[in-house]
């Protein structure tokens, strides 16, 4: 397990809240202004296409931060975090579907289109309530958190750990994927939920809404980052990293590691759910593909590339890998899977602390070199 600058007596960054929020606000306003206010003729104009992409990256970054919380700090490699993301997305998607109301292609007052043509007569009970935005928001957090709580309660209590736990989380997301693929479930089967029209009365296709969603995603990322940071810098964070390094020892100190794990796992799942909820209106679709084990593993590599155990590393990794994906799938389509595969191997073999770790090492080496230069030739460097 790589070393992590987790906490901090003496660590840098005394008042991060203002700083992080500041950075987020600056990013948001710069991008927003460059998109909306600066004319397209300007060299500085940011097209809406880029804004949407950045909004999507922000959601991914939030998801990566959530995963890093459990992987980097708690030592649980969850191969099922995509499931929490997708559940949050579905909760939001259900609201967006309900918001369409009678404006579906069949003009049915209540039922979403996919239910109409598959001959459903009434709305399933679990779709009720989602017409309210507030209810949907609660569900966005509650559903993934509840699943994480139940799964975690069972798993941590019986001390399923390590690779077993990873495989179980993978089985969990796989089972959910199969379940959501079933059309009988009433979530639109393979097609999922799509053809959204507006959110809170705002047209999803308008540029202003897109910028708004981007702003929300960035702020959610900032808030998620601060929350995660708050957790890892509290005593709870120290207990949690101690659990990662020696669960038995923590238990013998009188802590109940399973409760700590459960807390962090649940919080992380809720964060993933929020990320999913913000993601869905921006990409315009949510379907069971998000539950695919592959998506969850891909997410792990974002965190690994950025540097696990550092929250900003995770966020950075998410943005970088997805940028690489955008670029490669557009420019060298045949290479993408090779690149992704190579990324897995390289990161685990030579960059166990990711880019952030590499940067730190390089900085340290550079510093040594600078000081070393003043040393007398032939002097032995310890």
């Amino acid at each position: 397990m790589s070393e992590s600058p987790v906490h901090g007596s003496g660590g840098p960054g005394r008042s991060p809240t203002a700083a992080v929020l500041g950075v987020a606000l600056v990013v948001v306003s710069v991008v927003g202004v460059l998109n909306q206010a600066v004319g397209e003729s300007s060299a500085l104009h940011v097209p809406t296409y880029v804004v949407t992409l950045l909004g999507k990256y922000a959601c991914y970054a939030l998801l990566a931060v959530a995963l890093d919380l459990v992987w980097g700090y708690l030592g649980i490699l969850s191969l099922g975090h995509g499931a929490f993301f997708a559940l949050g997305g579905y909760a939001m998607g259900m609201h967006l579907m309900r918001e369409i109301g009678p404006r579906g292609v069949y003009g049915h007052p209540v039922l979403p289109d996919f239910m109409v043509f598959l001959d459903w007569k009434t709305l399933p009970w679990y779709w009720h309530g989602f017409d309210s935005f507030a209810f949907a928001l609660v569900m966005v957090v509650l559903v993934p958190a509840a699943l994480a709580f139940v799964f975690g309660w069972l798993a941590f209590r019986s001390r399923v750990t390590g690779v077993y736990l990873s495989i179980m989380t993978q089985a969990l997301t796989y089972a959910l994927m199969l379940a959501f693929f079933r059309n009988e479930m009433g979530f639109g089967g393979n097609n999922g939920l799509t053809d959204f029209k507006d959110v809170l009365g705002l047209d999803l296709q308008s540029d202003a809404t897109r910028v708004g969603l981007f702003v929300c995603s960035t702020m959610a990322l900032a808030a998620g980052y601060l929350l995660a940071r708050g957790i890892v810098r509290s005593r709870l964070g120290r207990v949690v990293t101690a659990i990662r390094d020696g669960e038995g020892r923590v238990r013998s100190l009188g802590y109940r590691p399973e409760r700590y794990k459960l807390f962090v796992f649940t919080v992380s799942a809720a964060m993933a759910g929020v990320a999913g909820a913000l993601y869905v209106p921006q990409v315009g679709i949510i379907n069971p593909g998000e539950f695919a084990p592959l998506s969850s593993i891909e997410l792990v590599v974002w965190v690994a590339v950025g540097g696990r155990g550092t929250l900003h590393g995770a966020a950075l990794g998410a943005v970088l890998v997805n940028y690489a994906k955008t670029w490669l799938t557009g420019t060298y389509p045949e290479v993408w899977l090779f690149a992704l595969g190579a990324m897995f191997v390289v990161v685990t073999l030579v960059l166990p602390r990711g880019i952030v770790g590499l940067a730190a090492t390089t900085r340290a080496a550079w510093a040594r070199r600078v000081t070393g230069a003043s040393r007398a030739p032939g002097e032995v460097v310890p």
């Binding site: 397990m1 070393e3 992590s4 987790v6 906490h7 007596s9 003496g10 957790i231 509290s234 005593r235 709870l236 120290r238 207990v239 990293t241 101690a242 390094d245 020696g246 038995g248 020892r249 923590v250 238990r251 013998s252 100190l253 009188g254 802590y255 109940r256 409760r259 700590y260 807390f263």
Partner: protein, 254 residues
């Protein structure tokens, strides 16, 4: 059973009665009975596989005995408690291999071990108070690590880790200390200091030491329990044990 009049001198803190446990048919502990008083320094010796570590595991709740009773203080049945409950009852354990949190500083290691509320919510709000700081300073002095308090525990030497672990043990304010091979890998000087520390602790704690190093045992032991094949082979003062032919045959003579 050699009950040493619990009501008479100091009251009994720990009481094992007819405890057995087996793994895959192998009897690791076989009808073990043991009594530890409230202030006492007890050494447990025995050859490899005698069941010393398993005994510790049973006391701390890591392993559940198949049969037998394990009672603590005011009649608490330890077999019904889980590990963290047992720890919170005041039973501290130092493992055979030093297990400190290598990615935490020495300070943080001690802070994590400080007695106090262990709930998730409490730890989320926790802030170090002045008393806690004093206590940590005091502990650092006790285990002689004051100058290293900001070092990551992983960078300490083996002996320093052992001490840190003992410090963490003390931070829990335990009534019973279970110490597994405390001087393994220590220099002679370190060993000597450790012996002093343990003897000092035994004045107001119960201390159970499992050790291989007979020299060390001789230097601290008041009362020794010899385990063999999961049961008590002999028990008594070191001088008596040394001359016991049975003990010599299975252990000391080697």
């Amino acid at each position: 059973m050699s009950l040493v009049g619990p009501e008479v001198h100091t009251p009994t803190l720990l009481y094992l009665d007819g405890v057995s446990v087996s793994f895959d048919g192998f009897k690791a502990i076989d009808g073990l009975s043991l009594v530890v008083d409230e202030t006492e320094l007890r050494c447990v010796i025995g050859p490899n596989g005698a069941g010393k570590t398993t005994m510790m595991d049973i006391i701390t709740g890591r392993t559940r005995p198949d049969t037998g009773r394990v009672e603590y203080a005011d009649g608490v049945d330890l077999t019904r408690c889980d590990e963290s409950e047992i720890a919170n009852l005041g039973i501290g354990r130092k493992f055979q291999k030093p297990t400190v949190f290598e990615h935490h500083t020495v300070d943080d290691n001690l802070e994590l071990a400080l007695a106090g509320r262990r709930s998730v919510a409490a730890s989320l709000r926790f802030a170090l108070g002045p008393e806690d700081r004093d206590r940590i300073d005091e502990l650092l002095a006790t285990v002689n690590l004051r100058g290293l308090r900001h070092r990551l525990a992983g960078t300490l030497s083996h002996g320093q880790k052992q001490w840190l672990e003992i410090g963490m043990l003390l931070a829990q304010r335990p009534r019973l200390l279970l110490v597994d091979e405390p001087v393994a890998g220590m220099t002679a000087q370190e060993t000597e200091r450790t012996a002093e520390l343990l003897v000092g602790l035994a004045t107001d704690h119960a201390v159970v030491v499992v050790e291989h190093d007979m020299e060390f045992v001789r230097s601290i032991a008041r009362k020794v329990t010899v385990l063999h094949q999961g049961r008590v082979l002999a028990e008594g003062p070191m001088s008596v044990i040394q001359d016991d032919p049975l003990v010599n045959a299975v252990y000391l003579g080697e």
